[in-house]
Amino acid sequence: MAKETTGATTMESLARGRTTGKFRCVNCFVRISPPPGAKTYKCPHCGFEWRVFWISPTFPRIRGPVWDVNRRLAAEEVSKQRKGGK
């Protein structure tokens, strides 16, 4: 069952796909790009809002949720799902 690989290693080939200036929204998983220096950013796809930390001027990361916004959105969505019988 074992097989050796040739050419670029997994590490090398995956590293080519790295993105900059973006992070994945942890609600909808779409990669989103906050404007440089933004302290918070609302995901344009799902509306969840994140506090942003900048590792460097071009490298944003999620610091945490904007609690009041995301709690409300989550509660609304969950209640909708329950009503829909999901």
Binding site: A15, I62, G64, P65, N70, E77, V78
Partner: protein, 635 residues
């Protein structure tokens, strides 16, 4: 050469010390570090011994690549029968101890018996002495390191030590090799304490001859570029592992108030960026370019001005998520206390949070806590419990016995609320929304933990082709793989793959942050094959290294089975199946683990291993791995 380091057998009862070379055939079978330790453990620890009795054996080792030109090869391993679980005891730490031990001439120490009075080992350039530890017994981890360096007159001496918790046989006491480099899990500090062995001091100046130095240096440049350009490495180098909290607490993967919630809301004060405000600079382990270890000075309160290192992501969960505390100072102080007492902070936090739930449910009363209001969110109570557990005072003495023994003593239905596997408390992660992570903790060879097999990249929603690339190397896999962390399909293979990957790094002596753990783009088997050859001259293919790791993991399984482990021990607390999550993003709310699907996952995981439906390696598997005649007593 890099492979001429020896194994030393040290008998603390008789004072006898014997050294032997390690045959190349054994290197090819187990490499070093955790792998060879697990072979030694199966061969030297007799079935059924008391883990705190003189018949248990402690194994201390360096990975085979430690102190070579390879990157981040700093890891020390310690093993023995666990005083906490009675199964595999095994813990791994960074820092500088293992490189020093290799420069002093040794790769593996096998420590038997029990000294009549407290002693320490002094290892230097091929020599090993057993010395009196009278003046360091009772001292904290940090004090011990300082006193021994002064006593031996060399500031470069590296020390692996226990703290007061290890002396008091707290069953989850750890061993430490620096200010915060901890071999945290499974109670290896209690094992050394039971032998009256306070510490091991090392200093060496014996050359390590690199097999192909120019190639090793050249290749290391590529390796370092890959590591340092990974986004995870850059993040860790800036704010350390607490960055993980930003993601996991955002979607709802943090075990909170013991197990009542899955997110610590409004906990901004303990986030990485808040910790960064008190960070006075990052430090790193031997040969590492990432430098993920934060250094801090406690800014206020009774411990104002005290220096320490960390805290890590694990401490955020242990001292804040699980007990529901949200103050940064609590995190900084508890982290410091765990470091000086020498305790596994994951157990301290988990068991305190468990006791808090018992208190709030009336199972523990003020009488049991000596008046301490053990409620969730009581920061002072969390700090106080660190002291009481380490000193074995009152309820702390009961918790110091570990969750299962404590539950027996406390009685009522306290066991129902204990979040553990095989008697080891779980990390602060809440795996109800992530079946792959749940499978990892249920099946880990040393109990519930995240460093045995956690497929952390399963949380990244990676596209299927990327998953396929990762999980089909170095051995072929054409089964299902899915990007959704809520799925059950294909996850057993991912857990098996990571288990094998992490075993391999622990044999090589490489840090887990330098493989496919937090970064999908980390080096693994293909890179290691080259690194191993350039540095040591050992020619082993990626598949050969995979097989070593499989072999070593099977030795762990054999050890556990011999100690009475059964399939039912690879299982989770009922709460995972019965209590739905209530917080986080909509996708993880209302989640439980499905019993039937989970049982099926375990079956598949066993199949990948070549184990039968009871989790026992089949004769064919043992033969394929060349361990069908164990114990073989070659070493």
């Amino acid at each position: 050469m890099a492979l001429n380091r020896k194994i030393a057998y040290i008998n603390l009862t008789t004072g006898e010390i014997e050294t032997k070379p390690i045959p190349i055939s054994m290197r090819k079978k187990f490499l070093g570090g955790r792998g060879l330790d697990m072979y030694l453990m199966y061969n030297h620890v007799k079935p059924g011994v008391d883990p705190l009795g003189p018949d248990n054996v402690a194994f201390v080792s360096a990975g085979i690549l430690v102190s070579t030109l390879a990157s981040a090869t700093a890891r020390t391993h310690i093993g023995g029968k666990s005083p906490l679980t009675g199964y595999v005891g095994s813990a791994n730490m960074g820092g500088f101890f293992a490189p020093e031990m290799r420069w002093a001439g040794f790769d593996h120490l096998v420590i038997k018996g029990k000294a009549e009075k407290p002693v320490y080992l002094w290892i230097h350039n091929g020599e090993i002495e057993i010395r009196d530890a009278k003046n360091i017994w009772g001292k904290t981890v940090h004090e011990t390191q300082q006193i021994v360096r002064e006593e031996l007159g060399d500031r470069e001496i590296k020390i692996l030590t226990i703290g007061p918790a290890g002396e008091k046989l707290v069953r989850f006491a750890n061993v430490m090799t620096g200010v915060k480099d901890a071999g945290g899990r499974s109670g290896m500090g209690a094992l050394l304490g039971s032998k009256n062995l306070k510490c091991i001091a090392c200093r060496g100046t014996m050359d390590i001859k690199i097999a192909h130095p120019q190639e090793a240096l050249d290749y290391n440049k590529t390796f370092i570029t890959q590591i340092t350009s990974a986004k995870v490495s850059q993040t860790q180098g800036k704010i350390g592992t607490p960055f993980i909290w930003g993601s996991t607490n955002s979607w709802g993967g943090i075990r909170t108030n013991n197990f009542q919630y899955n997110q610590l809301e409004y906990s901004d004060d303990i986030e990485a960026e808040s910790l960064d405000e008190v960070n006075i600079g990052m430090a790193g382990c031997f040969g590492c370019q990432v430098h993920c270890r934060a250094r801090y000075i406690i800014p206020d309160g009774p411990y104002k001005g005290v220096y320490d290192e960390g805290p890590e992501y694990t401490a955020q969960g242990a001292f804040c998520g699980e007990p529901g505390c949200t103050k940064r100072n609590t995190l900084l102080v508890c982290n410091h206390l765990a470091n000086i007492y020498g305790m596994d902070l994951l157990e301290v936090g988990s068991l305190t949070a468990w006791a808090m739930e018992l208190y709030e449910k009336g199972i523990l009363t003020d009488k049991d806590t000596d008046g301490l209001e053990l409620r969730f969110g009581n920061d002072e109570a969390m700090i106080e419990m660190c002291h009481r557990i380490a000193r074995r005072e009152g309820l702390g003495d009961i918790l110091a016995e570990g969750g299962l023994r404590a539950a027996k003593k406390i009685g009522k239905d306290s066991i129902k609320y204990l979040i553990h596997v095989k008697g080891m408390s779980n990390l602060h992660s809440d795996e109800r929304g992530t079946p792959s992570l749940a499978l990892g903790i249920a099946t880990g060879s040393r109990g519930s933990d995240h460093l045995r097999s956690r497929p952390a990249v399963d949380l990244y929603h990676l596209p299927e082709p990327v998953l396929r690339k990762i999980y089909s190397t170095p051995v072929a896999y054409d089964g299902p793989l899915t990007s959704d962390y809520k799925d059950y399909e294909g996850k057993p293979w991912q857990v098996f793959w990571h288990e094998t990957c992490y075993e391999a790094v622990d044999c090589l002596g490489i840090c887990k942050y330098h493989t496919t753990f937090l970064a999908a783009t980390g080096p693994n088997f293909e890179e290691w094959s080259r690194v191993l050859y350039y540095n040591t001259g050992l020619e082993m293919s990626p598949v050969d290294i995979w097989t070593v790791a499989e072999r070593a993991y099977n030795m762990e399984r054999l050890f556990n089975l011999r100690e009475g482990l059964t399939r039912k021990d690879d299982w989770l607390n009922d709460r995972y199946f019965d209590e739905p999550t209530t917080r986080g993003i909509p996708a993880v709310q209302g989640r439980t683990i499905d019993r039937e699907k989970f049982a099926k996952m375990i079956g598949e995981y066993y199949e990948h291993h070549g184990w039968d439906e009871n989790g026992v390696p089949t004769p064919e598997t043992l033969k394929r791995l060349g361990i069908d005649k164990e114990p073989s007593h070659v070493l």
